[in-house]
Assembly symmetry: C2
Homo-oligomer: 199 residues x 2
DNA sequence: TCCGCCAAAATTGGTACCAATATCATGCAT
DNA sequence: ATGCATGATATTGGTACCAATTTTGGCGGA
């Protein structure tokens, strides 16, 4: 696993809170990598907009911007609903079963997993679903976008109720996919991404 | 202007043909920058998928993959048509006039400009049009995607006829925008991006 | 007591150098 | 003559070091 992945994971897990300055020396000792590796990783993450670079100051974890995350979520709605027709067209019974397995994996982790594990299981579910789309670039693009909103992980996934709601929506997606109901699937995905605040 | 921009420009201009190995020493001398700057630029461009990194071999300009570019073009169709409703809603008369000016600028360069100038004028036109969308992230995302397909610049922009067709479509877009005809604008944009091969 | 200035420590970012690896050319054996 | 091994060369990539900038702590003055 690369340095960038390790840092990204720690950012998501909350080890490095938003706004924290990531000092190269600390990262060097923490992950036992050389200075150039650390700097490349920070540049990489800066380009991915997970950290921000300030010349002669260093790199710090980005502060979540609610407007910006809202815009990114809208992009995901656009892209993931656009993928639905192709997904439905390529949804073989085996593929659906594979997705269902990942949904159940997510369900299990609601009770006995850490927030990070839940997050990654959720990622795996959506990744598998989107991989049915005939456009592989869409998958990588959405994956990229998702990685930019997850720093607001604590906010979105805080409550048990919200996670259980996600689980229900996963199974609703599978049901709609099984029924080849594209419009229904689009609606669920839209709700799932937007995560409307309850009442 | 940064090293990455300079390299990117030379790649688009065809100075560095697809497949060419970009040697750090050469770039260092060509642009009069230090080694670390060159390496950062190459890493940056590799992340942007303009060049490819092979460990212990170096960086080479990506070879255009027709399937991949087709997929990226489809993503642009999805995103740019999705932006239309918002664009139409925010199209003030002044904004339309600004876009029209850029379209005319493009027209002029058809006759008296280099291919690179035409390319950049085209970019400016689309950038201005998309900037009307209420979602700024969409603009940056499409700009990013566009930068990945332009290495196939020679292929797409080769003929005078194709460039003039683009010009006509620009003005059709403005007309549809002026008429507040969102569906019409979407159709034109879709054709414009897909650039169907003439019979 | 609080504010501003100055020095010291720490961190970033760049330069030079060196090791590791790949490519190329030459020579040898078949 | 051709294929292969071997050594020379060039390029990449990492290590160590140093300069430049920023931050921190302390001191003096208002």
């Amino acid at each position: 696993m690369t340095v960038a992945d390790l840092i990204a994971r720690d950012v998501r897990a909350g080890t490095f809170a938003p706004g924290t300055w990531l000092k190269q020396i600390d990262l060097e000792h923490r992950y036992r990598f050389g200075r150039p590796d650390v700097r490349r990783a920070l540049d990489y993450l800066a380009q991915k907009r997970l950290v921000q670079h300030v010349p002669n100051r260093g790199y710090h974890v980005v502060l979540p911007d609610s407007d910006q995350t809202a815009h990114i979520l809208e992009l995901r709605v656009i892209l993931e609903t656009a993928a639905v027709d192709s997904i439905v067209a390529h949804a073989t019974p085996e593929a659906i079963r594979g997705i269902e397995a990942l949904a159940r994996k997510f369900d299990e982790l609601i009770l006995h997993g850490t927030v990070l594990e839940q997050y990654e299981a959720n990622l795996a579910f959506h990744h598998e679903l989107l991989s049915l789309c005939s456009n592989p670039e869409l998958l990588t693009l959405v994956t990229d976008l998702r990685s930019r909103t997850s720093s607001a992980l604590a906010g979105q996934w805080s409550t048990r109720a919200r996670v259980e709601q996600s689980s229900r929506e996963h199974h609703q997606m599978i049901k709609a996919l099984d029924a080849r109901d594209a419009q229904q699937l689009k609606d669920i995905i839209t709700r799932h991404i937007r995560q409307p605040k309850e009442r």
